[in-house]
């Protein structure tokens, strides 16, 4: 663990958080390099929110250390962090402009700075006319946009998004997703916490899986898939090949005419394929099936 490494936006070192008699966060260590989109996964009650609150300096860790850009995390760092909690809301009676200016000022911006930044964002989302609208006059999806702007208005170095797409229609989901990519391109590090695995696979480079307070899996999406692959392939041919499979020790997982899902044990797939080719069987398609993060997630959680 390199505590002085300021290339790491965030470093957790054996962080522990206890509530009453249960461990919400159980010796979690993590290094988050600058510019990543990092997925934080875990079932409900796994300790994700507890961990996020520690990173946000909302609560302190009972044991261990948290470093922000190589320095111990203090409440001064909150101006560098943007947090969009899963359970979120806005002051219903306040006007959009007032509300956003207030939240930006609380993050340490001056009034003038906040309004400049807000102008950029409202123009970007094409919602400048909302400035004097009350929050309660907006639809839920519109409120989510305001909420997103409130999270990023102070140009945070670290963005923590907890289920950012809940309550958004596909169009707005894409809109926000593009903004996340754009911010990431500009150097913002993103922690992305969700249950939606297909989003994780699509968006994140690295992920961590938390269960019962422990970090049970961490690494890049590609690497984790590689580690958990089961030598499964999809094979499509022009005739029945059942007779070839068994002698080669290849199991059929499922079959639909000449479309097979097969599992190789340690048998060399190349040797098997050349066998088929030698017998003049036409191979229409052959590709590896990697496990989805969802499958790995369920498998790992059940293992524990």
């Amino acid at each position: 663990m390199n505590q002085q490494d300021s290339n790491m936006v965030l470093s957790l070192d054996n962080v522990v958080k206890r509530y009453h008699n249960h461990l919400a966060v159980d010796h979690v260590s993590l290094d988050l390099p600058r510019g990543q989109i990092f997925g934080l996964l875990g079932p409900n009650g796994a300790g994700k929110t507890s961990l996020i609150r520690i990173i946000n300096a909302i609560t302190g860790a009972d044991e261990g250390h948290v470093y922000f850009e190589g320095k111990p995390l203090t409440s001064d760092h909150v101006s560098e962090i943007g947090y969009m909690p899963e359970e979120r809301g806005l002051y219903k009676k306040m006007k959009v402009g007032e509300q956003l200016t207030y939240l930006a000022q609380l993050k340490g911006l001056t009034k003038q700075q906040s309004q400049e930044n807000l102008k950029y964002w409202l123009e970007r989302f094409d919602i400048k006319s909302w400035w004097n609208k009350k929050i309660e006059e907006l639809s839920k999806g519109m409120q989510q946009k305001i909420q997103f702007i409130a999270t990023v208005v102070h140009k945070p170095k670290l963005l923590i998004l907890d289920e950012p797409f809940s309550g958004l229609d596909p169009i707005n989901t894409n809109l926000i997703k593009d903004e996340i990519y754009e911010l990431n391109k500009q150097g913002t590090t993103v922690i992305f916490s969700t249950h939606r695995m297909e989003q994780v696979e699509e968006i994140c480079e690295d992920i961590a899986l938390i269960n019962k307070g422990k970090m049970i899996l961490i690494g890049s999406v590609a690497q984790i898939k590689e580690d958990y692959k089961e030598n499964k392939y999809r094979l499509v041919t022009n005739r029945d090949i059942t007779q070839y499979l068994e002698p080669a020790g290849v199991q059929i997982e499922s079959q639909k005419e000449n479309d097979y899902i097969v599992k190789f044990s340690d048998y060399n797939s190349n040797a098997f394929l050349s066998n088929l080719i030698n017998d003049d069987i036409k191979i229409i398609s052959f590709n590896e099936i990697l496990p989805s993060i969802n499958e790995i997630f369920i498998k790992k959680v059940n293992e524990n």
Binding site: I58, G60, Y83, P85, R88, Y91, Y102
Partner: protein, 439 residues
């Protein structure tokens, strides 16, 4: 500090800018004035109907001692009681009284029968009994051998005059009028504190609950500490209350200066007559001028600032408790009632103690009540017009400040745990545990 200021500013401005705030602030003194006017009007009895009372006076008791009353008009009729019983309603009377002859002047118990279709109130019956008893006394006196002059000489009216009125010597230099005014002022300030605690304390509680229910608090605490959020809210709402109070003091002060002048210029014949009556009647004239003099004599320069200190102190103690309860209950107001009990009980106790403090402003209950910080915000302002010893005021204020710090701290400890907790029924035991959770 900067963030705290921002929170205070928001809490203050969103409330002060509301139309309802402006309306309430301006209309409340008007409402009070109306209330006082009406209660005065009611007390004067002008609203009540006048009862017509027919009296059958067999013994001629009322011949030289006619009955009089503001609510009743008495007419002695020269008909027999049996005849009257069937006729008095048709003759336009509400009540029929029948006075028997008094044969024995030493009889100390006399029964008088009355007949009426309406039900007579307790007070009407009692006032009739008093009038009749006076009339019979006068009748008996006329027919007795007692020398009336001697009797009149026995009647003595006592007026307590204060010997120190000229400012010599030491001691309480207040008159009876001053005590009356002090008492009225004491009650007004005591009840104002009571209202402040519940109105603005309740405002803080509702606001905390709202933030918790619509989850804005989750967003807020990623920027500010829970304690800052709570303190900002308590101070912001407190300033709203203070603004209102100061506007009221100014409005009432201005009204007291302007209204007498306005009344003089816009008097109609009726009020002119009344004013003349007041001038002609030396007692009323004295009372009115005495009232004004005594009101001016009150030590406002002490009372107003000290009242504001207790206003703020009482507000901070109770509103921080309300904030703690608000954070613990979430969206179920029902269970909040139970948690509010420990806040409500001391306030009610203080109000109960208020009347005994008013009757004995330097007694043990008054001294204890105005020292104990949960009661003092209500009871000390009530004692102020009675010139309590200065050391008691100072000790009480110091205790109050200490208590404010303690309660704000306790409330902050509960608040920071409570705002994150959803859907859980909270007990007092739980609340005490929260106080000792570490950061």
């Amino acid at each position: 500090m900067h963030k705290l200021w921002l929170i205070i500013k928001r809490e203050y401005l969103t409330r002060v800018k509301k139309k309802s705030f402006i309306i309430v602030t301006l209309l409340t003194p008007l409402g009070f004035a109306l209330l006082m006017f009406f209660s005065g009007f009611m007390a004067s009895g002008k609203m009540n109907s006048i009862k017509q009372v027919a009296v059958v006076d067999d013994g001629g008791i009322l011949q030289n001692n006619p009955l009089e009353g503001s609510q009743m008009k008495f007419t002695v009729v020269n008909k027999g009681i049996d005849e009257m019983k069937s006729e008095y309603v048709n003759d336009g009377y509400d009540v029929l009284l029948h006075l028997d002859k008094i044969d024995n002047l030493n009889e100390t118990k006399v029964n008088v029968n009355y007949y009426t279709d309406d039900k007579m109130s307790f007070f009407t019956i009692e006032s009739l009994e008093n009038k009749l008893s006076k009339a019979i006394k006068a009748y008996k006196l006329n027919h007795s051998t007692i020398d009336k002059e001697v009797l009149a000489g026995l009647e003595t009216e006592v007026t307590l005059e204060n010997g120190l009125k000229d400012g010599e010597g030491i001691g309480d230099n207040s008159s009876k009028m001053a005590s009356g005014i002090a008492q009225a002022l004491g009650y007004i300030m005591g009840f104002m504190m009571y209202m402040v605690i519940f109105i603005f304390g309740g405002m803080v509680m509702r606001s905390v609950m709202e933030e918790k229910i619509n989850r804005i608090v989750e967003v807020m605490i990623s920027s500010v500490k829970p304690f800052q959020l709570m303190l900002g809210k308590v101070i912001g709402v407190g300033l709203v209350g203070l603004t209102q109070l100061i506007i009221w003091i100014v409005l009432i002060g201005v009204a007291m200066m302007i209204i007498p002048g306005l009344m003089m210029s816009s008097m109609d014949s009726n009020t002119v007559e009344m004013a003349k009556e007041i001038q002609n009647n030396p007692e009323t004239a004295n009372a009115v001028s005495g009232l004004i003099v005594e009101l001016k004599n009150q030590n406002w320069l002490l009372i107003i600032p000290v009242f504001i200190i207790y206003f703020l102190g009482g507000y901070f103690i109770y509103s921080s408790l309300f904030a703690a309860v608000g954070s613990a209950i979430g969206d179920d107001l029902g269970e909040g009632q139970q948690l509010m009990m420990p806040i409500v009980i001391p306030v009610i106790l203080a109000i109960v103690m208020l009347s005994s403090v008013m009757t004995d402003p330097d007694g043990p209950i008054a001294v204890f009540g105005s020292m104990f910080p949960l009661f003092s915000p209500i009871l000390m302002p009530a004692r102020l017009p009675f010139d309590p010893p200065m050391w008691q005021v100072i000790v009480s204020i110091l205790l109050l400040i200490g208590c404010v710090i303690l309660f704000v701290w306790i409330a902050g400890r509960i608040y920071r745990v409570g705002i994150f907790l959803y859907g859980k029924k909270v007990s007092f035991k739980e609340l005490t545990k929260w106080m000792f959770y570490k950061g």
